[in-house]
Amino acid sequence: MAGLGAMMMMFLLLGGLVLAAAVVVIGIYNGLVGGRNQVDNAWSQIDVQLKRRHDLIPNLVETAKGYMQHERQTFESITQARSQAMGAKNVAEASKAEGALTDALSKFMLVVENYPDLKANQNFLSLQETLTSTENKIAFARQAYNDAVLTYNNKTQMFPSNIVAGMFNFTKRDFFEIESTAEREVPKVKF
């Protein structure tokens, strides 16, 4: 009789342990899914802003062209960087191409200083604010994305969540570094 009671106890204890482990695993799993979704969501934000910048450029070039006849090379480098950025296939490629585009735009904005007529143009002024803001939004979206990636990557690498991550194939994500030669930290346009 006593032996049966002890068996029952053992079973109950074992069942309890399995249940507790299952709850922990489910909790970690959900945390990982949440983290991954946040990363994806943050990435789509960057994507939106990058597209907005791509859309802005033809307008900008069109407005500025009339005032800046001698800057064909500047325009060409912008247009080229834009088409390269639009054709990028993965995060690494996009990083590189968007960095080049940021550089080209910075150079363009430096050159603008030499054209007071252009700087007085109302249409250009509003484009300038839109471009400034788009550059900021890209920077802030990147900031949010990298924060999300860091949190998520920590989860996939640290014990004990790394075990669950390994079981369900949660892989590490890449940071989005804009490879700008001028300034690595924040994409900057000098007005």
Binding site: E129, T132, S133, N136, F140, A141, A144, V186, K190
Partner: protein, 402 residues
Amino acid sequence: MWEQIRINKRNSMILLTAMAGLLLGLGGLLGYAFVGPQGVGVGILIAGGVWLLLTLISFSSGDQILLASSGAVEVTPEVHPMLFNIVEEMKIAAQLPAMPKVYIIPDPSPNAFATGRNPSKSAVAVTEGLLAKLNRDELQGVIAHEVSHIVHRDILFVTLAGIMLGTIVLLADVFLRGTMYGSHRRYSGRDNNNAQGLMIIIALVAAILAPLMAQILYFALSRKREFLADAGAVRLTRYPEGLASALEKISGSKIPMETANKVTAPMYISSPFRGRQASLFSTHPAPEDRIRVLRAMMHGANYQDYDQAYRSVTGKSGIIPASALKDSEAIPTRQADTRSEPKPQPAAKAQQRILFGDFIRKQQGFAFIDCPCGVKLKLPPNLPTNRVQCPRCKTVHTVTQS
């Protein structure tokens, strides 16, 4: 990491519970004083009931009431593109699920506040004075501070605590008036009941002290939250100097806000009342302290850096909840932003004011007529006549709008 600073607000919870205790205790005491021992339960029920009712009202329409009482006008992006852009930038940085609504308050005093119970339904309001005074980076700092309030759910807390404060003041007021005008007849006949006589005196003292204590609690909570929102703002913008110099300009202004009162004051970025020293009864920390903390952030923009700066400036123990400090990844600050501002352009600022003025007139039903001579006629609704003469070129126009 955003979640952590929000969840770990034990101190705020303690304060809120203390206020609730104060409210219910006052209710019970007043019940005892009026009716006797059997009135305690009723008193507590009434106090709780009034609080619940006011809370429900404010939850269903509190932000609307606040916005309306401050005279804020919801604007479209065309009215102020830069303001909208900055709000959107901060929305992205803070990963808010939805774009906050944007309001402008026609008030020359520079200030701003945020409302909304949760991050997916929020609003930020800034005064015209603020837009006129600040440059882009400073405005970004202010908006980041407001967005941090939204992320930290401070508005919910301020609403809950503010209503408790309001209820306590209301109960105490009703009781004091009641005893002052009606006490003689009502209580003198029962003077054989000594215990109740004593309770009346205790209740009187409590009715005088409770609102003071509630205010001290409320304002302590509010001051702490201002520091936390500053820390959040820096984490969003990575640029402490923007907010610091904005606070400098705002606190340097001598114009008081016309539409603010003590209960709504904690919602604003800087105390809407001018020329007072920081004390137990201030809703905001002294702006000088906030500015000094921000300027002491030399190395980085994360919570640890803010906490460190806070400790070295104030000499107190830290301000940031411990769990938020665990995120120790270094966040560099960024450099001064020289790109955005095409130097002060008074013409553009004036243009902005005209644009906002017209926006308000349009909402009020004004009719606009562009005269060929270049004058823009702005006509109020319900004109007695439908023929108007241009003051410059004397052309007579017919008003088509009803």
